[in-house]
């Protein structure tokens, strides 16, 4: 227990059977918040929106804790919930056509030509990621941002292993085209 906060320390491993929802969510929050937030920022291009998406996912997990089949399902649930909320956020932005205004990547601290070029490339990549078809985007996020295996990605998104491979290939190919276009 953390002496200052009275809560579980940040290195606590995983929720266990018999934990209360509050305790389990606390454990999961400390373990996964940062990683979920990073992916949500990359997906949404907005830190505020990403924080809201991750908060919502944890609130939803807390409210549905008794419906989880197994505490081990909590992590895939959280990843999936964050992706769903990112999808909704992107959909809203597509409607209002403000996608191009988003800036996911902080501007370079130094003003060198190389730093500016890398920054522009990253911006284009981030924008291209958000413009992928949803399933491709979510598969790419699971595989390369959450760094899940093909099987874990399939379970998280509720699709077949073959579909994961197909969407991952198509997604990477589209992003590669964008990267090539910046060269």
């Amino acid at each position: 227990m953390d002496r200052l906060t009275g809560r579980a320390p940040l290195h606590v491993a995983r929720p266990e059977v018999g934990m209360t929802a509050e305790k389990a969510v606390d454990v999961l929050f400390r373990r996964h918040y940062a990683a979920l937030l990073r992916v949500a920022v990359a997906m949404l291009g907005s830190r505020d929106g990403a924080e809201d998406a991750v908060q919502d996912a944890f609130v939803s997990l807390f409210r549905h804790w008794d419906r989880l089949r197994d505490p081990a399902a909590a992590e895939p649930y959280l990843r999936s919930a964050v992706l769903n909320r990112c999808r909704s956020g992107i959909r809203d932005r597509i409607r209002t056509r403000t996608l191009a205004d988003l800036h996911v990547v902080p501007p370079p601290v130094e003003g060198s030509d190389q730093a500016v070029t890398v920054h522009q490339d990253n911006q284009k990549l981030a924008q291209a990621l958000r413009q992928l078809p949803p399933r491709q985007r979510e598969v790419v996020a699971c595989r390369y941002l959450f760094e899940l295996t093909v099987a874990e990605t399939a379970e998280t998104l509720g699709i077949s292993v073959g579909a994961v491979k197909r969407h991952a290939y198509r997604g990477l190919r589209s992003l590669h085209t964008v990267l090539e276009g910046t060269r």
Binding site: V41, V105, L145, R173
Partner: protein, 334 residues
């Protein structure tokens, strides 16, 4: 794309998240915010629970009164639908699995929700409302619905069992088929907003809501190909659906086949200047590989309607190798 290129893209993706700083203080601040969010059910939710409880009591009261009447030797009740459990359902009849089978759509502003009901007691529901309606992702919805499962009908009550996103769900609502062919629903899941809703039937018989005529003017050319993405219903006749997907594919579903997921034709589409070109891959067997439909000057028109916006598409068919779509190219987007 070779493995070197693939790794380069993966490295670039991972660099995106690597540049986002999350400090311990950020985590603690967010944890404090979460704690505030984990509050008991708000007043609105309690009011909804009270309304649902009142509806249950009303049904129970009516049932008891009916049973008491029978004990006193009164005439057997006439064959009539049982009393509707909600004012929103009055005037309708409880549906059967057979009468519900098909595709239902609910429009609300720019949102569209879609429910595919099969007579065998299974159904799929477009959870977020727009996956089937012009938003990229609808095609996966047809193949892999985000929420699907089984249902049971007991009078007006529609109870479901679904497994979605690691959770067992049992969404339930009361519903009635109305004389105009629409389906009225009231959510009865504990704690949920009752949200009275009207669903229009898309298949196998289309509701009158789809009978409106295409607007005469105000059409604009699509800015980009993705403007054409969606599930399109021919306005003139038939019950077909034409699906234009964001990955560059299209599929043509004849009457009743969307739920089963077997298109009559499929292939690729491209917006080539002022022409929309659909080229069959021949996989479905109805059209030869390479058969083309060419639509000159495709154009769009958004119509604001009382029960939600309707997007129309129109164009002039100049080539139709397979004769699948007919010469009239006028559609409403689902």
């Amino acid at each position: 794309m070779n493995s070197y290129d693939e790794q380069r893209v993966i490295d670039a993706l991972q660099a995106l998240t690597g540049g986002i700083t999350v400090t311990d203080n950020d985590v603690l601040d967010a944890r404090d915010r979460l704690e505030k969010n984990l509050t008991p059910a708000p007043k609105r939710r309690r009011m909804v629970l009270a309304a649902v409880a009142a509806a249950v009591l009303l049904v129970a009261g009516v049932t008891v009164a009916s049973l008491t009447g029978n004990k006193q030797g009164s005439a057997p009740p006439p064959v009539a639908p049982p009393p509707a459990p909600d004012l929103w359902l009055e005037g309708g009849t409880p549906p059967t699995a057979e009468s519900m089978a098909g595709i239902w759509q609910q429009r609300s502003g720019t949102f569209t929700q879609v429910m595919v009901v099969q007579a065998d007691g299974t159904f799929a529901y477009d959870w977020e409302g727009t996956d089937l309606a012009g938003n990229p992702g609808w095609h996966e919805t047809l193949d892999e619905p985000p929420m699907s499962g089984s249902f049971e009908l007991d009078g007006y009550q529609f109870s479901t069992k679904v497994y979605r996103n690691q959770l067992d769900w049992t969404p339930a609502w009361a519903q009635a088929l109305m004389p105009d062919g629409t389906l009225h629903t009231v959510n009865t899941s504990p704690g949920a907003d009752p949200a009275p809703a009207t669903w229009e039937r898309v298949e196998p018989v289309r509701s009158r809501a789809f009978d409106s005529a295409a607007p005469a003017q105000g059409w604009t050319a699509p800015v980009e190909g993705t403007d054409l993405v969606g599930v399109w219903l021919p306005a003139a006749s038939g019950q077909e659906l034409v699906v234009i997907n964001p990955d560059g594919g299209y599929a043509y579903y004849p009457e009743g086949n969307v739920g089963a997921g077997h298109p009559t034709d499929s292939g690729g589409w491209a917006l080539d200047g002022r022409r929309l070109v659909l080229t069959s891959d021949g996989d479905a067997g109805s059209c030869a590989n390479g058969a083309r439909v060419v639509v000159q000057a495709p154009r769009l028109r958004l119509v604001h309607a009382l029960h939600g916006d309707v997007l129309w598409q129109q164009g002039d068919v100049v080539t139709n190798d397979c004769n699948l779509f007919g010469q009239s190219w006028v559609f409403q987007r689902l």
